[in-house]
Amino acid sequence: MSVVHQVRPGFTLAESLVALVLSALVVVAVGALELRQGTAAGTALARAAARAQLAAARAALEGELAAVMHGESRLMVVHDTLLELDAHVGMALSCRPAAAGARTLIVTAHGAAGALPTSGWLRAAAPGDSVAVFDPSNGRWESATLVSVATGSCSPGVLAGPGRLLALAAPGTPVPVPEGAPVVVHRHVRWTSYRAADGRWYLGVREQTSGAWASVQPVAGPLDASAGQPRPFALLDDAGVPLAPGAPIALGSRLEVVLDMADAVPADRVPLVVPVRRRP
């Protein structure tokens, strides 16, 4: 009689132990990898958010700084935490003649004059803004104060089309305003780094309308506050050497803005520098 040994598939105890150990190692490795990836992903997300904030701040600041560079905005104070300027709101051309003392002025709006660009606005005009009108009879800019803005209509001619009616405070336009005279609107604006209710630091802007300062509006953040209050602004001399905070602003000096976002890496830190083209 022969004895038949039945072969059963299976693992020995030793094999099972080895498999268990190996599986445990794999699980630990995968877990560690996952943890690292999660951390890296979190960092990347935070960095992406910081970069997005930086892009938003740059977009907001670029128009402002371009206006400084073109001489359309006038720097008033440059402190390391504060930038105050007589900021460019916008410009347009007078598109209806106005007599001296007139309380309304009609200027070109977007779409006026067909394909001829005649106006550009960095921000919406608001009551209390300062309105400067060029007087070609004497070569001077004359000032008035804006009371309100409404829609208007330009005279037929090269500037025909939709207009904006600027109502001015008494005594109105100081001089007769011919068609085509440049009209520029300005407003006091302060850019600043400030601490928000969440305890973090942000870049914000305050605007003066109707003689009062509005509350600060956040533009970008949070800023890197590892060394205390962020100091994004600096005035450089013509050799690029930083001047003391609050130093007098001179033609030829340069304004530097550096935004350090929390969670951003040094590679994202690109300073914006513009020359000062208009005497304060």
Partner: protein, 361 residues
Amino acid sequence: MRARVGGAMLAVLLLTIVLAAMSAAVAARAIAHAESARARDGADAARATADAGVVDAWQGWDGPERAADSIGTATRVIVSGGASVAEVRIARVSKRLWWIAAEGWAAGGMAARPVSRATGFSVWLSVGAPVPSAAIVGAATVTADSAARILGGPGIPDGWRCPAVPAPNALRLATPALVHAPAGVVVGAVLGPAAPGPDEAALWDAEWAAITARADVVLGADTTVSPAPGLTPATCSTGWGEPSRADSTAPCLRRFVVVHAPRGLTLHGGRGQGLLLVQGTLTLEADARFTGLVVVRGSLRGQGGARVVGAVVLLPDSGAAPTAALADSSSIWASPCAVLGALVGGSLVREVPRQGWFGLW
């Protein structure tokens, strides 16, 4: 055949899906960055081309051409800057104001949707006195011999493009009885003090200081010069401009000089165009030719075939009445076109002070 139970295929499939998703995310991010960079480059290129178009229009400012613009008209030029293009328009928006605007486009991001940037530049004629309504204007005594000529207009210098204007007179004087000239010398109307309109001489007198302050050339006392237009584009800025349009490629056609001679001047031959302001005695001789406006605070002497095309304004000098004496085929020919070209072509047209440039969008 042994059946094998395994998860290799599933693992490979999962890995492939994960890798594909990661690759897609990386690619999408790269595309977004590229789009953003392209949009930024496109915006910069559009801005640069628009700015360059305005600068070119201003540097190539053509006085007579712009003087001929009627209010409310615009001329259009297309300029190309490699990957970008700009449309430049020069519009005369009122009597003393022009608006140069350019809108540039360049291929940007978002499936090459064009990016647009616009720039505006305001230009201003800083002199408000009117174009003289006669060849000679002022409270002056005028004498001329039989070979001289004082001609009303409108004179149109050869080859100049001129706006349509009412024909000016020969003389506009405070006292017509002070004209001493044989018949046929003065061709055109002679207006007296009762002529309608403002006192043109007084208005030019009021502009004297502002214009002399902007002079390109200031001469010494009792200087004699034979002005030349400038021989090359590089020397135009030192010359007096080319009034002849016989050669349309001549280098200094767009140069209109503003000359101030505070203590007398003799032009001995030569030619020029623009504004000539002389205090004391201005002597024109030896075929000297000047096209534009001559303002003399004192006396004018023309001889030897000298010729002014434009107008002469005579102002009193230290209370003494001005005089004009023309002889030897010298002539003064009224040309509002020449005066307008001189006013609008020279340094009296300039950028609106403090902020003529505007980045519109």
